[in-house]
Amino acid sequence: MSGWDVLHAFNLFILGYFFVLNASYLVMNFMAFRELRRYAERLKTVRLESFMRSVAPPPVTLVAPAYNEELTCLESVRALLALEYPEYEVLVVNDGSTDATLDVLRQAFELTPASRFPTARIPTEPVRQVWRSRTHPNLWVVDKENGGKADALNAGINYCRTPLFCAMDADSVLEREALIRLARPFMEDVSLVAAGGIVRIANGCTIRDGMLEQIRLPETLLARFQVLEYLRAFLGGRMGWDALHATLIISGAFGVFRRSAVVEVGGYRPDTVGEDMELVVRLHRHFREKEEPYTIRYIPDPVAWTECPESVRVLGGQRDRWQRGLIESLTRNARMLFNPTYGRIGMLAFPYFFFFEMLGPIIEMGGYVAFLVAVFTGNASNLYVFTFLALAVAFGVTISITSVALEELTFRRYPRLRDLLRLFWLAILENFGYRQLITFWRVRGVVSKLRRVESWGIMERTGFGTGDTGGTPTDDSPRGSAPDEEDGA
């Protein structure tokens, strides 16, 4: 077999791999469609106000880790305090911020030193002081040494006293009914241990006093591409996996967990940058091994709005980190791969994430290289090249457009027709550069992982609804608590 035969065989493999991957995305979207319709119908019969009036909703603690969030923390905390929920506490964990995050909170909410007894002993970096608001008795701030987002969440869990806690980012804004929507499934199914909501891009939207006033697409192309990516990931991918009862990811930006379950598995792992996915995988593993009934769900209508990167550098760093987090989550629980003990998680979801999400970027990049070699050495006809590229674009566009259709079928958050048409245009445009860039960053993430890089990267914040440009770098710590989201594509 000559080198050219090998190259040819590899190209065929890439073609097959690419076909299976994209076909699975499409299938996911169709499954999501069915599930979303069912969910939307069910939602019609649910009267949130009756849930609100009743004494039944379990108390919830919102754990919001904050690292250098001086620009956004006020809006976010105000939004948290304005949530519609009968009984909840807000626990902001200041993870050793080097900016004025704590001062901003102290002044705005009249924080005073307070005692609060921890009810769990998950190891964390030392807590310096616990603060409580005079103006809002349900607002607490735990000030601790920097230890990263997972460490901050663990500190929050240690101080949590409610049966449920909500893990979120301090720079995210929850919609007013988001918490009741996400807590409701815990009333309907006592075996539920974790549920994740949808994360949407806040760039371009107007948020005042913690309330979302106007929903618009972001101004920059980079952020708009991410809107489309998030729609694909949350309305297509996650809903599809939920339909299969195989949810493997709950976004760190917004998820509700049964506290006892998370304490039982030892909380978040601070030595990973993908602590949110790693926790969910570990919960699956734990309950499957103990053969205890449990459920982990994705709920599509509770919304957390979050700011996404608007610069290539920051976005690259974010995707690099997500890829590393994915690798860590999967390799640390590798025994689940094709292991029937773990049911459909081990036999379906885990292999999918392992071979398509984790190894996908490497294979895809290998494909690009082999493809280029074949083209430049004259081993691929122009027609073949054109056909392959056309197929790639056709798949990409169709998957994205079905995701936009899912949005229109269900939640219709973007009220202007112009925004809808822009999303279609973006579905075409993203195939020429953006997707390849994302692949490159994900490959870089693999390389970073091999080089044992543990950086969180930098997040530039502009604050919500200000329309300001030129953000301020606010997260340059090696273990900062930057907003976190999994693989969007």
């Binding site: 119908e41 019609k44 039944a56 005692s115 006592v190 056909t387 457009i401 259709a405």
Partner: protein, 376 residues
């Protein structure tokens, strides 16, 4: 034509055949993308039109409805404005109002809806559980008496959501009859949170307390169902509940329950017997008196930290400082932080803050706890 193409393809090389397949796939994908895009825009157009139409209809009906509700116009004035194709919209419109109305106004809305409710009745037969649930909710809100038998049948619907919608709607109507129908089927709702179910039952009011008490005390009933009824009794605050709780505790093998809970391994499902014991202790915490405490004192030594916590709380609420103080002080140093937390609160309730003061000024790991409870 297709046959000719296929014949032609068979004669070509494998590479050409593959190329053809790819080409067909591309065309199909492009067509699908275009179809979805058109579908989405059409959907947007239809939704916008619907919304506009809905607003127009609402405006047309709303002012007349307010007149009818105020008694300034007869119901016919509004009914005359409902065209045949708008009947479903009209029922939905009334449903939205009915949720916020009570008394005579609600009855007026029900009278207005009556001619159209058979439309919803036909929906009860559809295989789609979402539509069935919606229909049941409509009938329960706008025609609870006329469609009572349908609602009772819906309690046995194969879809748990439909059954729950029916149960929830019936509890809003109140009355012992509804309670009996629901109580007989409580085991169908095992997945729902017990506090949710208890709240649903207690919302029926004190009239249903005897039925709840009967189930709570019935040793032949499922322990999980008894626990729900016990919790509902607690929420209603029936005076004899504490005596019943003691009876229930005395008739339960508490050691076996504690052993079952060893290591608090079961995070998602407490055993049913354990739930029953927990509920009974919570009743005593709310309604207990000193004469109810002998067994509770024993439970402060239970292997199960949840039972220890609750027992200590009961002592804080209903105990005697002299007799129960030492037990509660000892629980301050329990290995479980939850037991310690409950103990600290109980000490404050018993008025024994001296021990907390001492602890607060010590270098004990529980000093923070004492300070917190003292400053609360």
């Amino acid at each position: 034509m297709l046959r000719e193409i296929l014949d032609l393809l068979v004669e070509r090389s494998l590479q050409d055949q593959a190329f053809f397949v790819l080409l067909v796939l591309i065309v199909l994908l492009v067509l699908a993308a275009v179809a979805f895009a058109v579908f989405t825009v059409a959907l947007r157009y239809r939704n916008t039109q619907r919304e506009r139409r809905w607003i127009r209809l609402e405006e047309k009906w709303e002012s007349v409805l307010l007149d009818v509700l105020a008694g300034d116009a007869p119901p016919e004035t509004l009914l005359d404005r409902v065209r045949g194709e708008d009947r479903r919209y009209f029922v939905d419109f009334l449903l939205r109002y009915a949720r916020h109305l009570k008394g005579q106004e609600l009855e007026t809305v029900r009278t207005l809806a009556a001619p159209y409710l058979d439309l919803s009745l036909t929906e009860v037969e559809t295989p789609n559980p979402g539509r069935r649930a919606w229909a049941i909710q409509t009938l329960a809100t706008l025609g609870p008496r006329r469609y009572r038998s349908t609602l009772v049948e819906a309690l046995d619907d194969p879809s748990p959501v439909v059954a729950m919608v029916a149960a929830r709607s019936m509890t809003e109507e109140r009355g012992p009859d509804s309670a009996r129908e629901i109580l007989g089927r409580l085991h169908r709702y095992v997945l729902w949170s017990r506090s949710f179910l208890a709240e649903m039952l207690s919302s029926l009011g004190a009239d249903v307390a005897p039925d709840l008490a009967a189930v709570y005390r019935d040793p032949d009933e499922r322990p999980g169902v008894r626990a729900i009824c016990g919790e509902a009794l607690m929420q209603i605050g029936l005076p004899g509940s504490a005596d019943m709780a003691v009876d229930v505790l005395e008739s339960t093998d508490l050691e076996a329950v504690a052993e079952e809970a060893e290591d608090t391994a079961e995070v998602t499902h407490f055993g049913d017997e354990r739930e029953l014991v927990i509920t009974s202790l919570r009743i005593l915490e709310e309604l207990g008196r000193p004469e109810h405490l002998p067994l509770v004192r024993e439970l402060t030594e239970s292997m199960d930290p949840v039972l220890r916590s609750l027992a200590v709380s009961v002592l804080g609420r209903a105990g005697e400082p002299d007799e129960d103080g030492p037990r509660v002080i000892s629980a301050l140093h329990d290995p479980s932080p939850w037991v310690a937390l409950h103990a600290a609160r109980s000490l404050r309730e018993l008025g024994l803050t001296g021990e907390l003061e001492r602890l607060a000024h010590s270098d004990s790991v529980r000093a923070d706890l004492a300070r917190e409870v003292l400053s609360a």
